[in-house]
């Protein structure tokens, strides 16, 4: 069932919706086309599924098109994705050719006429060659802080033809001759991952996952990836466990598709050993309700990343009123206000110290959780994201 924009009125800060209506009046009737490479799965599709209908509710002619490609194309773009995020890849001339030709094959199948065309991520970027009018913006959702130079230089050829680029953190910005804007990602408070759940629903889901909440419950939700430091989390838990009885849940997904993920998962299982209070959960990519329930059941949420893009799981946990202990990396530093909504830490010992401190001061858990929820309400909900996009539409199509 589709959720209308009015459903957000009681969730977002007072006056936000009226403000959005006013902002939308400035750009009413203009067309806004989003293009990406998948309609299901992944953060971009997840947010577009909600943003596009909301834009239409506000009188914007918003549409969403998806480029088509062969398995080969997606293998190449996966390699691009990894290279741009700093994992060295071998990219051959043939792969570059496949990439460009596959995108060109979409021309004529996708209507490209709009006042503002938003091209999400590297996959559809070469579509700019077929621009017919309107303003074009390249929206980069990935971590470009340390890209593989050869791949970025190839992609840059297309990006420089856009009217602007948008990044999720200032450090992802590149040397470009076009204006670069900062837009933080957001969560949908009414989506399955964040919608309110009754205590009964939470208990039912936990039971299904085989978790009994009879002691303080620590949680990290993330892919099984070394950058997320799951072993560091287990070590921090062990330090805490010496003094306070608690349990740890490490929940992640997608490991089976990723050879390195499988390797990390076995390391994690090995590190967990036979400790009955450590639960390692492999969840499918669409386990939104399970993640929602786990975050609601947790006492403290950890995101001890060593390297991170934006790390929206931090915002998700804060929205559920949980204090978050996060590694001082990437967007985690933007989301956590130290001593107010949680703590940023630089080591396993630092994480253990903060977990122990919070468990010994339960009143702080509630206070920080409340502050975190308010901080998210004002800064990281989808309505703020929508306002940013409408402001861009206004700015770019007025000048």
């Amino acid at each position: 069932m589709s959720i209308g924009i009015e459903a957000y009125r009681d969730v977002v800060p007072q006056g936000t919706l009226d403000f959005l209506y006013r902002l939308a009046e400035k750009v009413e009737g203009r067309s806004f086309l989003h293009i990406n490479s998948t309609r299901i799965g992944g953060g971009v599709a997840e947010i577009l599924q909600r943003l596009v209908p909301m834009m239409n509710d506000l009188g914007i002619k918003a549409s969403w098109e998806v480029i088509q490609g062969s398995r080969e194309f997606f293998t190449v773009t996966k390699a691009f994705h990894n290279a741009l995020q700093g994992k060295e890849q071998v990219i051959t001339e043939e792969m570059y050719r496949t990439y460009v030709e596959s995108v060109r094959n979409n021309v004529g199948k996708i209507p490209l006429d709009a006042d503002l065309v938003f091209v999400h991520d590297p996959q559809p970027a070469p579509l700019i060659e077929n621009r017919r009018g309107g303003k074009w913006v390249w929206r980069c959702h990935i971590d470009l802080a340390q890209p593989q130079r050869s791949v970025w230089n190839f992609l840059r050829r297309f990006v420089v033809s856009y009217d602007a680029a948008i990044f999720s953190l200032p450090k992802f910005a590149q040397r470009l001759p076009v204006p670069q804007f900062l837009v933080y990602p957001s969560i949908d408070p009414l989506g399955p991952k964040n919608r309110p759940l009754s205590p009964g629903e939470v208990a039912h889901i936990l039971e299904r996952l085989g978790i009994w909440k009879d002691k303080p419950f620590l949680l990290q939700v993330s892919r099984f990836d070394r950058f997320k430091d799951p072993i560091g989390v287990i070590n921090a838990y062990r330090i805490v466990k010496k003094q306070i009885d608690c349990c740890l849940v490490l929940a992640g997904g997608g490991a089976t598709d990723d050879p390195e993920g499988t390797e990390v998962l076995s390391e994690v299982k090995e590190a967990a050993g036979r400790d009955p209070d450590i639960h390692v959960l492999e969840l499918p990519p669409d386990a939104f309700l399970e993640i929602n329930a786990l975050q609601r059941a947790a006492d403290i949420v950890i995101q001890k990343s060593i390297r991170e893009g934006f790390g929206l799981t931090v915002t998700e946990a804060m929205w559920k009123g949980k204090p978050v202990i996060g590694g001082a990396a990437g967007g985690i530093k933007v989301q956590i206000i130290p001593n107010v909504t949680g703590y940023t830490v630089h080591s396993t010992e630092g994480a253990a110290f903060r977990i122990r401190y919070l468990l010994n001061n339960p009143q702080l858990i509630a206070r920080m959780g409340g502050a975190g929820r308010e901080y998210v309400r004002r800064n990281f909900l989808i309505t703020r994201h929508l306002a940013d996009y409408l402001a861009l539409l206004s700015f770019l199509t007025h000048h």
Binding site: F19, L23, E25, P170, A173, Q180, F181, L182, E374, A391
Partner: protein, 353 residues
């Protein structure tokens, strides 16, 4: 000339009917007049004010005050006492004094003196700020900030100073004034990005404290503010043996602020409406009217204290608002302070009456 017997309820009722008729005529005549010069109230405004006076007069006459009545309308504009109109309502005749139909309220502070043969009394003191209506409404605007990444980063304090010297003034504005727009609900340790970066990433407590104490509102221009920041960093570096730099933290990314102005659709004419507006509007409107307008746009029509003086004659309230140390407050605290000042003003006026 025989005077009617005002102790008789019949005569009194007849007078009330006449006065009500007069009020009716005045209101419509005033509303149909051409727009008067700028310093005068507009026709509907004057009509409204007069109808308030006449209603009040009618009430008092009903209480049994003897007539004929002479109106003296006094005003106080910029401290000077003026007499705007002296006229008599001839209650004996069939028609009210036609001269009264051109009566207008020019001042926001007025008195109506009722004169009878036996005594003079203050009938109405028109100092009610809540009923004062502006000729030009105050229009609230909210705003959205687009954050533009300049692609310039500093790794140490010298680079920070060099880039502060180089970046556009919109960037200085972003890292100082519009800091508040991005940190609406929480007070950071310091109220500008430079001081916070030096404190948390470079971990140079001395410089962060020196930068953190800067009040950007004390500077007339962004250039003057830039000079001050530079001079503090230069002075600090002159005494340092090494240039403090980021070791484990993140570099400073220069940004600039692009503001999209959004009409809220809210127009107010009176102090009480202004109060209600301040209470209801999106917090970005508070930011827009107090920071963006004052320090960057410099547009008079969006300036609340100026409007209070020009349209409502509330110089004292305006001065109080101007004196608020904006940088010691979050936007929500600023909103509360404004509401408290306006509330106190209205309360004071009520007591005066």
């Amino acid at each position: 000339m025989d005077l009617p017997d005002w102790s008789s309820s019949k005569d009194r009722e007849s007078l009330i009917v006449k006065i009500a008729h007069l009020a009716f005529v005045l209101f419509f005549v005033e509303c149909s007049l051409k727009l008067p010069p700028a310093s005068w109230g507009d026709s509907s405004n004057a009509g409204n004010s007069l109808s308030i006076i006449i209603r009040s007069l009618t009430r008092k006459l009903a209480a049994g005050i003897a007539l004929p009545v002479h109106f003296h309308l006094h005003g106080r504009t910029q401290g000077k006492q003026r007499e705007y109109k002296k006229t008599t309502v001839n209650c004996q005749g069939e028609n009210p004094d036609s001269g009264l139909t051109s009566l207008r309220i020019r001042s926001r502070s007025f008195q109506i003196i009722l004169l009878s043969r036996r005594h003079e009394m203050l009938l109405e003191k028109g100092n009610d700020c809540m009923s004062r209506r502006a000729q030009r409404p105050f229009i609230f605007y909210g705003c959205m900030e687009l954050r533009e990444i300049l692609g310039k980063t500093a790794e140490n304090e010298k680079e920070l100073a060099d880039l502060i010297e180089e970046v556009p003034s919109d960037s200085i504005f972003y890292h100082t004034h519009s800091f508040l727009l991005r940190h609406r609900s929480t007070n950071g340790e310091y109220m500008n990005d430079f001081a916070n970066w030096v404190a948390t990433e470079v971990e140079d407590r001395v410089l962060s404290e020196r930068l953190g104490i800067i009040d950007p509102c004390e500077f007339e221009t962004l250039e003057a503010l830039r000079e001050e920041i530079l001079s503090i960093i230069d002075d600090h570096l002159a005494g340092a043996r090494i240039i403090p730099q980021v070791i484990f933290g993140e570099s400073f990314s220069f940004m600039q602020s692009r503001i999209i102005q959004i009409p809220t659709g809210l127009e107010v004419y009176t102090l009480s409406e202004l109060c209600q507006g301040l209470e209801e509007i999106d917090i970005s409107a508070i930011y827009f009217h107090f920071f963006e307008v004052r320090h960057r746009l410099k547009r008079r029509e969006y300036d609340i204290p100026l409007w209070l003086i020009e349209e409502l004659g509330l110089n004292e309230l305006s001065e109080q608002i101007r004196k608020i140390r904006l940088y010691s407050l979050t936007l929500e605290q600023l909103r509360s302070k404004l509401l408290s000042f306006c509330g106190r003003e209205m309360e004071g006026r009520r007591e005066e009456r």
